[in-house]
Assembly symmetry: C2
Homo-oligomer: 310 residues x 2
């Protein structure tokens, strides 16, 4: 199997897509933007040993890697309130391994199909494993969400549950386990992002960790987070019954959830795009991010890293 075989296999498995005038075939793809929409573009790559474990018993499956490579990009589109349209894939592979490619495409293309995101181009090169994806989405003109827009009194809202990904990593769960799935096969919150973009003043993807990404949003302002209110999955509650340990997992990152700032008066639904919404705190003017316990008392935060981000 050589480079051209790899490309032929990718091409053979790529269905025709909406708005794709010319897909994988030529020097570049030709795409039909939708009138009245703005284009949203993001790129992210995965490096072996950094974004996933690629050796030993606990290594990521090729299908998980394929899913994750696209998911991290779709999550960025979700945070803008964009609808995915197209993607491009750059594979740097140590060898032209057809079974690796098959598994990778299983994961990648299944997620792409789920979100109507057509693979339209890419590149295959030999070298240390590195997977680059560019995702392109669309948003009605001017209706994108950004990180900017924090103001005192806003409610801090998060989608889904927190801490599952970190628990999946720490506990070395096998493929198929719900916690591992949240680590390696996260569901990008596209539908939730679309709904939240209409009601939120600001939005961000919190894959780098709740507190760091919240700090990016509130800037010079501050925030109070109610640790007892952090949304927790049953799987995490069972796997990590100790409250302090669990809280530290919930701050550890890797959860491809959305964090939104919503004005005090806005009516907040229980869910958006089929995903639970939880209010976890408020924007303050304290200049610090403070974590409170169930009684509203500031928690000692010796094991966290949140001052580090400020």
């Amino acid at each position: 199997m050589n480079e051209f075989d790899l490309i032929a296999e990718i091409k053979a498995r790529t269905p025709a897509g909406s708005g794709v005038v010319l897909g994988i075939a030529d020097d570049a793809a030709v795409l039909q933007p939708t009138a009245g929409m703005q284009l949203v573009a993001t790129t992210d790559n995965l490096v072996a040993g950094r974004h996933f474990i690629d050796s030993g018993e606990n290594r990521a499956t090729t299908e998980e890697i394929g899913h994750l490579a696209l998911a991290v990009n779709l999550s960025d589109l979700a945070a803008m309130g964009a609808t995915p349209r197209w993607c491009l894939l750059t594979l740097t592979l140590p060898e032209a391994d057809s079974s690796w490619l098959r598994g990778f495409l299983d994961g990648f293309l299944a997620l792409a199909a789920e979100h109507g995101c057509s693979l339209v181009g890419g590149n295959v090169t030999r070298g240390p494993l590195n997977i680059g994806v560019t995702a392109l989405g669309e948003v009605p003109s001017g209706q994108y969400a950004t990180r900017e827009g924090a103001s005192v009194g806003q409610r801090i809202v998060v989608t889904g549950t927190l801490g599952d990904a970190a628990a999946g990593l720490k506990l070395e769960k096998p493929p198929g386990d719900p916690l591992r799935k949240r680590l390696l096969k996260p569901a990008p919150r596209i539908a939730a992002g679309l709904e939240l973009a209409g009601m939120a003043d600001a939005m961000i993807d919190i894959s780098d960790g709740l507190l760091g990404d919240l700090a990016h949003m509130v800037g010079k302002l501050g925030a109070e987070i109610r640790c007892d209110q952090l949304p927790t999955s049953i799987a995490l509650a069972e796997a990590s019954p100790d409250r302090r340990e669990r809280c530290s997992l919930q701050f550890a990152g890797g959860d491809y959830e959305l964090l939104a700032l919503v004005a005090e008066g806005t009516e907040l639904p229980d869910s958006a795009g089929g995903v639970r919404l939880t209010e976890i705190g408020r924007v303050t003017d304290s200049g610090r991010i403070v974590c409170l316990d169930a009684g509203g008392r500031p928690l000692e935060t010796n094991e966290s890293g949140w001052d580090h981000f400020r």
Copy 2:
């Protein structure tokens, strides 16, 4: 210097760009497509040791690497007849080295500015050196060029000169030498691509080598190439006076030139976009690519690889 410092440095050096609603700042960029235009998208990456030499006396400078990483993508846009608009950059670096980044951005951003191609997003990761770029361009709806469209009798036309890049590689020229510049700082033929798209039946970028890329274009048809007509720079003629050796360099690839098929009756200008155009042969129905000498006799092709591509 950490990841955030690197991103801050990139952001600080990136000017505001046309059609950039939201650039480097958020989870994704927001871009304003032009009404009546289609989007053209391509991605390509550079791997150390494969696309450039990164150790020893003859290693590429960081500025050359920055230029090359964008140029290979812009050349793909040129081959579609597209105008560059925006680009995204994924840097996987062994260490957060600010002097490396500075040189890289010197090369990358100078070329981006030359072509009005705004850097709007990206990602920085630690790992074995790998540079990924996605370039986005626009073309008036339906007016893109493709590889398809070969028919018997068409003239085969090439931009610029051939063989310089291979000579630059073989002769290990120092930075600034014209042959090395053609290898590591190629000029994407954007303006020529725009003009040729209006007159050519098919077009391709021949960075993989004239004969292989020509084979992609002619498919089941064939071609006659007049080796004595291959456009040759003065620098190459001086550096490689032997005709056979020179011809082999001219087939070796690495020249970011465009190859176009032009109908027999079309009036061919001497240049397009300020770059010389040369007719080097014809499309035939022979099913083979044949190289002819000045007297029209088929050349022995023992050292070339062109049958290999078919």
